[in-house]
């Protein structure tokens, strides 16, 4: 993408004021996005994202700049502009760059850029038809197809020089049902670190059908009661609860500054024995996976909580300095425009012993959250909230009527301690996670599990 000699000159210029580490991140990304709404392809856009991020450390000082100007003069100028903020004692030595070969662990069969738009639209039309014909009350179906090919080159003053190609493909389906004056919607958005083969082989009957079924089910659903209940959270995207409630608090981004409820608690019991929590960027072709992270480190399986004991955090290079520890291949950024920091990849609760049937039949009175919407957490406190896209009342060990307007609210560290059943049916769901280094593809995962008590917010009055 850019000549090695130019990169070396940029790394050197970045250290000209005494920084002790410099890094160059070069990105060239091709994206396509197609939207189908009311049976019509309404939007289709392609683009090329291109730019260079330059980062400098000096002790615990972190400076970042980026530009799309790829001339040597422009890059040297950007590096020097960033270096102005530094006054360190570094010797300006750049280790010779050693090109690393990345062993691809994520097979890409059909690069999206080689696939003509008509084939992508054909899959969307098929999904549209399935969702629309599910029920006569389905009034609107929207689909969004996205693909990306991201080429990155990462080099640093420690001699790292590595290139990688990441490919993401996703199809999102939203169905809207209407009856009288009431409207409700359902959503499903499968994605993978994969090419067009993933889209072509999707079980459209399942995904499009579910989006419509959720919308129709929530139409006429009772308003959710408010109060404290045992809550059964289903597998796959149900993992969003722990992603929001605990995952963010296990990122070095907040741990390193003592702004997490999990800071300084390694070795402590933070959850019941049945809870093991993992972040694994190596799962083949999963939506949140990467071969190398955005600092060029190989991704790996990081066990965060094992049998209830806090074992580790997700750590990036800069926060590793503050924490006096090693990075864990967890550094991520949305694009060259973001200073990278520690973030999740594919985060999940490991499978347990219970079957889903056992969990439901042993719950006398509670809420069953079949599909979760998205959510949010304050990482400093662990206070979270998230929406339930499809909920049911559980009565006498059986799933009863559907409920709408449900929200789960509470505190992550406390909720973690109240997990009392973990199922054996682990599955992963694709989502987008927004935080300080941008919006990223991540998987959230878990088996069905139960929390003995969560506050459920609803619209039904007392």
């Amino acid at each position: 993408m850019i000549k090695q000699s130019i990169i070396e000159n940029v790394l050197e210029a970045a250290l000209s004021t005494g920084g002790d580490f410099s890094e160059v991140f070069i990105e060239d990304k091709f994206v396509n996005s197609i939207e189908l709404q009311s049976d019509k392809v309404e939007k289709s856009i392609s683009g090329r994202d291109f730019g260079i991020g330059i980062r400098i450390f000096s002790g615990l000082q972190n400076v970042y700049t980026y530009t799309s100007d790829f001339t040597e003069e422009g890059l040297i100028e950007a590096a020097k502009r960033a270096a102005l903020a530094i006054s360190g004692g570094g010797n300006g030595i750049i280790h010779p760059l050693q090109k690393e070969i990345v062993q691809p662990i994520h097979t890409i069969a059909q690069l999206p850029q080689t696939v003509e738009h008509a084939r992508k639209v054909a899959v969307m039309r098929k999904a549209n038809e399935i969702a629309k014909s599910y029920d006569e009350r389905i009034r609107q179906v929207g689909l969004r197809y996205v693909d990306e090919e991201q080429h990155v080159l990462i080099a640093n003053s420690e001699g790292k020089f590595v290139e990688d190609q990441r490919v993401h493909s996703r199809l999102a389906i939203q169905s809207t049902a209407m009856d009288g004056g009431e409207m409700q919607s359902g959503f499903y958005g499968p994605g993978a670190h994969a090419g067009f083969e993933f889209i072509e082989n999707l079980d459209l009957q399942h995904y499009a059908g579910e989006a419509s079924r959720i919308a129709v089910t929530m139409l006429g659903a009772d308003e959710c009661p408010s109060g404290k209940f045992p809550v059964i959270i289903d597998n796959e995207f149900g993992g969003v609860i722990f992603h929001e409630a605990c995952g963010h608090g296990l990122e070095a981004t907040s741990v390193a500054k003592n702004n997490s409820v999990f800071a300084n608690r390694i070795g402590e019991k933070v959850a019941p024995d049945i809870v093991t929590y993992i972040d694994d960027g190596t799962l083949p072709n999963e939506w949140g996976s990467l071969s190398i992270d955005d600092e060029g480190e190989k991704t790996r399986k990081n066990v965060l909580i094992e049998n209830g004991i806090l074992k580790g955090y997700m750590i990036d290079k800069f926060n590793a300095r503050r924490m006096n520890t090693e990075a864990t291949g967890s550094s991520r950024r949305q694009s060259y425009r973001f200073n990278p920091t520690s973030r999740m990849t594919n985060t999940y609760i490991a499978p347990g012993q219970s079957t889903p049937e056992e969990i439901i039949s042993s719950t006398e009175n509670g809420i069953y959250a079949k599909y979760m919407g998205g959510g949010q957490v304050n990482p400093a406190t662990g206070d979270y909230n998230f929406a339930v896209a499809e909920a049911y009342l559980v009565k006498d060990g059986k799933i009863d009527r559907p409920l709408r307007g449900a929200t789960l609210i509470g505190n992550g560290a406390k909720t973690l301690q109240m997990v009392d059943k973990v199922g054996n049916n682990l599955a992963h769901g694709a989502g987008m996670c927004g935080s300080v280094s941008g919006s990223l593809p991540v998987n959230v995962g878990q088996p069905m599990l139960r929390v003995s008590e969560i506050t459920v917010g609803g619209t039904k009055g007392e």
Binding site: D28, Q37, V41, E42, K43, S44, I45, S46, G47, R48, D49, F50, G51, L60, Q61, N62, V63, Y64, T65, Y66, T67, S68, F70, A78, R81, A82, L84, A85, H117, Q140, G142, T176, M178, G181, M183, Q184, S185, S226, K257, N259, G373, G374, Q376, A380, D383, N385, F386, A387, G405, T407, I409, G410, T455, V456, G457, G458, T459, K460, G461, E462
Partner: protein, 447 residues
Amino acid sequence: MDIQQFQEELLSKAQDAKFEEAEFYYEKSNSFQVKIFEGEIDSYETSEEAGVGFRGLYNGSMGYAYTEKIDEDSISFLIESAKANADVLDEDDGTDIFEGSEHYSEHSRYSEELAAVSIPDKIEFIKEVEKKTLAYDSRITSLNYCMIQDFTEERVLANNKGLSLQGKTNGLIIFVSAVAKDGEEMKTGAGVRLTRDFNSLNAEEIAKEAAEEALSKLGETSIPSRKYPVIMRHDASASLLAAFTPIFSAEEAQKEQSLLKDKVGEGIGAETFSIVDDPFHPEALLGKNFDGEGVATEKTMIISNGTLKTLLHNRKTAKKDGVSSTGHASKASYKSTLSVAPDNLYIAPGEESQEELIAAMEEGVLITELSGLHSGTSTISGDFSVAASGFYIKDGKISSPVKQMTIAGNFFDYMNGIESVGADLKFVPGGYGSPSVKVKALSVTVD
């Protein structure tokens, strides 16, 4: 190659490639951001970003593509991609490229004085904010976030119908989040400033605001879960309005994704309630004198004393509804196709102060912060169920902070249920503003 040359070559090659109409849109922005942690620079980011969006009419369809690499290869990429995109579109509504408005406002959204403030001065200021925040009270243990950021943005819109427009804006944002601890309890409070006037900033005021907000949340108590009268403080109210902005989009209404479809001229809110979009509001940072397709922008009354006066339109939605564009064609950036979005959308202020609204409340809840708005709201149904922070009010006085709440309701009922609108209009990042608002009742659930 330089951008002028790129523009000329792109429009020329588009003509050769049989585009009937073609448009070049260029954006360049520079920004600077510093985060402070314990008196040191925790992160320091400067940036320069630029890109071109290309739009062209090909066989009756409008194809789009963009690039951030300004080189010869990208001209071919833009033209071939725009053709490929035009080929799959089903649009049949005669979208075209605009020749220009008769008049464009002269309002300036660029401050030369702000541009002249040096980086060391900005860094010194934000360090002072951190120092004063930490010194405010021994229970303030750290800052979650302590940031100063500025931006400068330039835009060029040119097409093969002779239109050539340019615009320039700048601004400064400060965001501070203080962490207060008392025993096991931990709370955060924020101080935010949006301005083009660096000299109007006061470090002590910002520090006090963030620290006092965090401290005021300590000692939380529970209240029964039920419906309460609610005062939505200006910033919480602005963020709720931001979440429901799509309901005012004619584009969403035409897709049957807004219940305000066919409601223009009808009463949809309380008589005390008005909503305005003003691209030139002096207290807001956003806003420009031409929209994403070159239409001149102006102040727009959306809801006037409860009556819906207009939805927000671009040229495509306006044509379909048989009305004039309101100048709300939106390009979120050169990467985007045209959509509809407000510039600075706000609830028009009334006359009572926040203190007066509280004093008039016998019992209720003051909501100071909302979260989970991106997932806890449905702009299709108007339903919301989101986490909230705030205080219990009794006998016209703030009584105590309340443990984490969920508030639930419906935005359409909310607009109808507004009883009073305060005078304390403030804007939040993103171009949304509100004064404090008193609402008849919302469901409140307490953990």
